[in-house]
Amino acid sequence: MPLFALATAALVAAPLMLPMFAMTLLTEALILGLLAMSLDLMVGYTRLISFGHAAAYGLGAYTCGNLLLHTTLPLPFAVLAASLLTGVVAIGVAWVCTMAKGVSFSMLTLAFAQLLYAVAFKWTSVTGASDGLAGIPRRAGPFGITVFEGKTGFYYLVLACLLGSFLFCRALVNAPFGAVLRGIRENEAKTLSLGYNTRLYKIAVVALSFALGGLAGALYAPFAGFANTELLFWLFSGQVLIMVIVGGQGTLLGPILGAAFFMLLEHVLSAYTESWALVFGLIFIGFVMFVPQGIWGLVTRTRRARA
């Protein structure tokens, strides 16, 4: 994949060329890209439409924020621990949610996310209620490494997490595990009758998806320096789903592009008009109606046409 190598090289070299504010935008885009990619495992590969992926993000962000505020854990370990915890919590969530199928599954994920949202508003000692957690530090370490304290160093940490997660996900969907997921997507009854315990696979993919979504949230907390209930709000879950669809579901790279597109569009549109949500909604409707394969589908189709 020469294009992939080129893109990676460009991302690695980005801090040398881009001004500071653009780096901040890019860092956030990569974090959102990681979140959207994690949702793609569920939506694109298994047809488990989650309307509560903000739960993964918020859980990761609040856990990492608390670890950085109240313990002396170094930044990378705090991020990792938050991601793991989110994945473990997701096993319980998935166990309940996979009792239902189709639209009911979507609604259950939404209910869980909203339950978490309600809890975040009330559990003041842990979440800071409506004020949220503020002043989350980027602590140095481990072994005296201070590079993650700076913006550029933190950018590389985010980039490394995204690349690592992408390679992991790609290996996963190309492995037999991924084949079973696609089997569930196309025809769950058939997959079940072939002897696969589809519910276990679904729980596993939700847990993995949440762990990576939690990783994204855990990176967001020290990036922004705060975590608040907005991260858990249902509208945000919807936006992440938009990123996946607009980018191209079931492609892993597409949702990352979708997240970057979303960020860029919001940034550009909000500079010109206050009603960016109006334009955004219209673009989104247009994508669902006329480009169901998403941006990534457009890219690959153009490349194939040229070849």
Partner: protein
């Protein structure tokens, strides 16, 4: 306060709340029953109703004009949206509907913000029902009594409409077997447009009626859509009686929960929903498990 009068007034309170939840949920469940789609924009139509109600009171001085106008405007937009966009998506999977209606939520919400602004708008209670009455020596707003009564009237009206009219018959038939209805020479597309319009109109009716209690604000849609989903899921997707039952159940949980466990009131509704889904994945009166 004595226990019995307290229980009775709070129950009346819960019933008025149930009426609002019912208007919200019944439209969504009817739309789902016929079209197998989840209308994410339902809360936004509810909000639209409240704002149209505000303008009607402001320009005509009559709340009742708003009560007619709100559902008409929302129903009209709903029909236009269904014929313009949704109709092209019936061959696609259900997630396409969810997402297109989510897009409509963004667009319609923004249009409402542009037309009415960001301030919450106070809608005066109609004069006929503005006062309070004393029940068991406790003051109780007349408007809430009116709401509870309106809920009962509308519920009976919808029930009779579904049971006794030709369109109601077609709606019930289409929800059971759309292909057969189509084969019998009925234009199913028209039935779908009609039910989408009716559903959106019912949501707006709830919005107009809720406006004097909660003011018309941009935050309405988000809360309303969640409430509507909860009602539909608890009651069972597509079940008219289920939505009525769920509205009453949720309203009682909300009202009494807010009194006895103020810290957990918000969570109580979701816990109830999880409980119902774990026991009956298809909802209380739903067909599908």
């Amino acid at each position: 306060m004595d226990l019995l009068p307290f229980l009775l007034t709070q129950s009346l309170n819960a019933l008025s709340q149930a009426a609002l939840l019912f208007f919200l949920g019944v439209g969504l469940t009817l739309i789902f029953g016929i079209m197998r789609i989840v209308n994410f924009a339902h809360g936004t139509f509810y909000m639209l109703g409240a704002f149209v109600g505000y303008s009607a009171v402001r320009f005509t001085g009559s709340f009742w004009v708003g009560l007619v106008l709100g559902p008409l405007v929302a129903g009209g937009i709903g029909v236009a949206f269904e014929t313009g966009l949704l109709r092209r998506l019936y061959k696609r999977d259900e997630s396409a509907f969810l997402m297109v209606t989510f897009g409509l939520t963004l667009v319609l919400g923004e249009v409402i913000r542009l037309v009415w602004g960001v301030e919450a708008l106070q809608v005066p209670t109609p004069e006929t029902f503005a006062g309070i009455v004393f029940l068991f020596d406790e003051p109780f707003p007349v408007y809430r009594l009116f709401l509870a009564a309106a809920g009962v009237v509308v519920a009976i009206a919808i029930w009779q409409f579904l049971e006794r009219t030709r369109l109601g018959l077609l709606i019930r038939a289409t929800s059971q077997n759309a292909e057969m209805v189509h084969a019998l020479g009925v234009d199913v597309k028209l039935v779908r447009s009609a039910i989408f319009g009716i559903g959106c109109g019912l949501a707006a009716l709830g919005g107009v009626l809720a406006a004097p209690l909660v003011t018309a604000s941009l935050g309405m849609a988000a809360n309303a859509i969640i409430d509507a989903f909860v009602i539909v899921i608890i009651g069972g997707m597509g079940s008219f009686l289920g939505s009525l039952l769920a509205a009453v159940l949720v309203a009682f949980v909300q009202v009494f929960g807010a009194y006895y466990f103020p810290d957990f009131a918000l969570a109580a509704m979701y816990l109830l929903m999880l409980l119902v889904l774990v026991i009956r994945p298809g909802g209380l009166l739903g067909k599908e498990a």
